[in-house]
Subunit: 413 residues, 2 copies
């Protein structure tokens, strides 16, 4: 039995190898920029022009050619310059108090080189084009409110490297550089296989000793929400032949196989031995954690990743959120794992086990967000997860953790 | 000019009213459970049966009829009980040390009433069915490792109320109660309208004084990722007629209109006056914040929500993340806003303004996750957002905040 930290290390290494071998290979996909958030780039992005591409007006107002002598004089508007226009409308600059009305985003034209925002001006004249004075006591700096050409980056600069996950700001950068379709690695193909004679379809009316399947539907919903899809879905009865056939098909068609049920110590827990028959190697079986101890993880004969989760619904959800999702979905945001203080005292699990428990984020009005566990519940009770915001990871300890102790938090998606 | 807190209150109230009036009305949609994460339920969920529906075996092992006298005797397996089976295979219970092999998930049959997990047993006999002894020193409790019928909830109980946002655990609950298609409120219809003569399409090659459009593509990508879509997309030039036509169409077809550009103080900032012509009422214009001061927010003649964002890309992204997204997307998870300590000293904005800045989550190996701002950048530079994990909100203050001060953090999606 290994620790949660050891499991993280084993899974992380195997996913890295497997993605490099199976997923991060050609042919690449092209996706529209609108649907590219969270995808991984296959190419560097080189700047196609300077940014800004010109000396960009950063405030609406008047522009002058800076001259200390003119700051307490009346400024006369002689022309205006619109964003998107290559030319001024009006007369060119001829003397120090000639001002140009400018719009944010316009490409400034020499010799005008300093911008006074409208907020800092008082209108004085009522003539045709208008006259203004700078408000008393304001300091005007030569060059102010101009976003200079190439001050963000220069044409040819390597802006984003291959392997980057596309976030909101990346979309701006890609769009600004003319990339409307972006080359990304394909998504992993995921198979979901459940097993258990007691399980019937959601649509069916269960007999008294049966229950409806829910584990893989919850996982399918999570994948759907995160932009991944399951390519192969199957339910097997607790018989070698059926399970063998369905796991073999899953391994044939997918990069990642997620199995639910039959990984524990029962006589019908056939998954580990059938996976072995199919050429899969076990990288670990059982983690010192509650719930979710029976988790099995391994690799298929062609580098496929196999996560076999316990059939208990709470164990299934905890294992998926904590030990599957972060590794197979590189697009999860940075806040998918946080360190936060406990709102109350908290008991660890016994005998060196890591405890996972549902928790809510609470704010006391001061200090960082805290984690409140509510009352502890048995691992079979998924109803107890309903009011939670995510799960906390309570490391093994020989005494209770006092309120304020910092633990890991994994929010629901 | 209002504060960020006042803006939150105004937007929250208007969204609530508008959703009740326009979005949370019939006809409802039915969606498959797999695609229902983040959607809002229109009906209560009543339990269709007890949970568990039977006395459910919670561990693989042997079951006995509890009797203190038998705990140090040899237990003889006389039958086994599979999950999903209504009957035992083998002989019925006749004497105290008759044991039943049980599988997790099986419906326990009287008089067997206590479960000893395999981990706690040593095999002693090698006969046909097998004999076991409980490991020395173990305490066995009557009734242990049984998840009792109706202990989670009873048939008929109201489990989820109308108006609930569906999360991962809710999927289990819905599936277990036979709901394969769930009735949800429709998603809001969103229109995106940008304006600016200097802006060309991403596919186009801009002239020296032009730039490519990126603001609404970034917003469309965010909506796409969060399961929302924009129903109407348009770009208008800086002329009253074109802008009037396109904003009118947006208001006709959508619940929410997001406008980019032309809301500041320039002569061509036509958006506020045209929205007024179209019967929209301004609920605020300008917030004491940097960047994003020019934000305009109001309601249309039929309760539509209108967010008019500044055209500057960083302002646009900050306003969208901080003041639009949390209100229009009820499905954002609880960790979409957190209170966390600053990793370094941090300057507020001047003169009563709230400052927003990109930040990264950092872990020092102890204490809560912290926020690192890196070096401050001008609001026009979206390249500076690239390495960030989200934005921090630095409230107005007359002196710098020392490291460790707790501020709000809004992670990217």
């Amino acid at each position: 039995m290994i620790s949660v930290a050891e499991a993280d290390a084993v899974i992380s290494k195997a996913v890295k190898e497997s993605y490099a071998e199976r997923v991060y290979v050609q042919p690449y996909q092209k996706v529209s920029l609108e649907s590219s958030l969270g995808r991984t780039m296959t190419e560097d992005l080189l700047a196609d022009r300077d940014q800004p591409p010109f000396d960009r007006v950063a405030m609406d107002g008047l522009s002058i050619k800076f001259d200390p002598a003119v700051l307490d004089q009346t400024l006369n508007k002689v022309a205006y310059l619109q964003a998107g226009s290559p030319n001024i409308f009006g007369s060119p600059w001829t003397q120090a108090n000639d001002a140009l009305e400018v719009m944010t985003g316009a490409a400034l034209i020499e010799p005008w080189n300093t911008i006074i925002p409208w907020e800092d001006l008082d209108q004085v004249g009522t003539d045709n084009l208008g006259s203004w004075r700078i408000k008393a006591g304001l300091r005007v700096r030569e060059d102010q409110h101009i976003h200079h050409r190439a001050s963000d980056y220069a044409a040819g600069q390597n802006l984003l490297q291959s392997g980057t996950t596309i976030g909101p700001a990346h979309i701006h950068l890609l769009a600004s550089n003319g990339v409307s379709n972006v080359s990304v690695y394909r998504q992993p193909q995921i198979a979901l296989v459940s097993t258990g004679d007691e399980l019937v379809a959601v649509e069916d009316t269960p007999l008294p000793h049966q229950i409806r399947r829910s584990n893989l539907i919850a996982i399918a919903a999570a994948l759907h929400r995160l932009g991944l899809t399951s390519k192969y879905n199957a339910h097997a009865i607790d018989e070698r032949e059926d399970l063998h056939t369905k796991l073999a098909l899953a391994l044939q068609t997918c990069d990642i196989v997620i199995v639910s049920g039959a990984v524990s110590m029962g006589s019908f827990d056939l998954v580990p031995s059938i996976l072995q028959e199919l050429g899969c190697s076990c990288l670990f079986h059982k983690i010192a954690q509650k719930p979710g101890k029976p988790l099995w993880f391994g690799k298929g004969p062609h580098g496929q990743l196999i996560f076999a989760l316990p059939g208990n619904p709470v164990s299934s959800l905890v294992c998926f959120r904590r030990l599957v999702l972060p590794w197979i979905c590189p697009a999860l945001n940075a806040a998918n794992m946080l360190h936060l203080p406990l709102a109350e005292d908290c008991n660890p699990a016994h005998s060196g086990f890591t405890r996972f428990a549902p928790a809510c984020l609470v704010d006391q009005g001061f200090g960082p967000s805290q984690l409140s566990l509510g009352k502890a519940q048995g691992s079979g009770n998924f109803f107890s997860l309903i009011p939670s915001d995510g799960i906390v990871e309570i490391p093994p300890n020989d005494k209770p953790y006092p309120a304020g102790s910092v633990v890991r938090f994994f929010p629901w998606y």
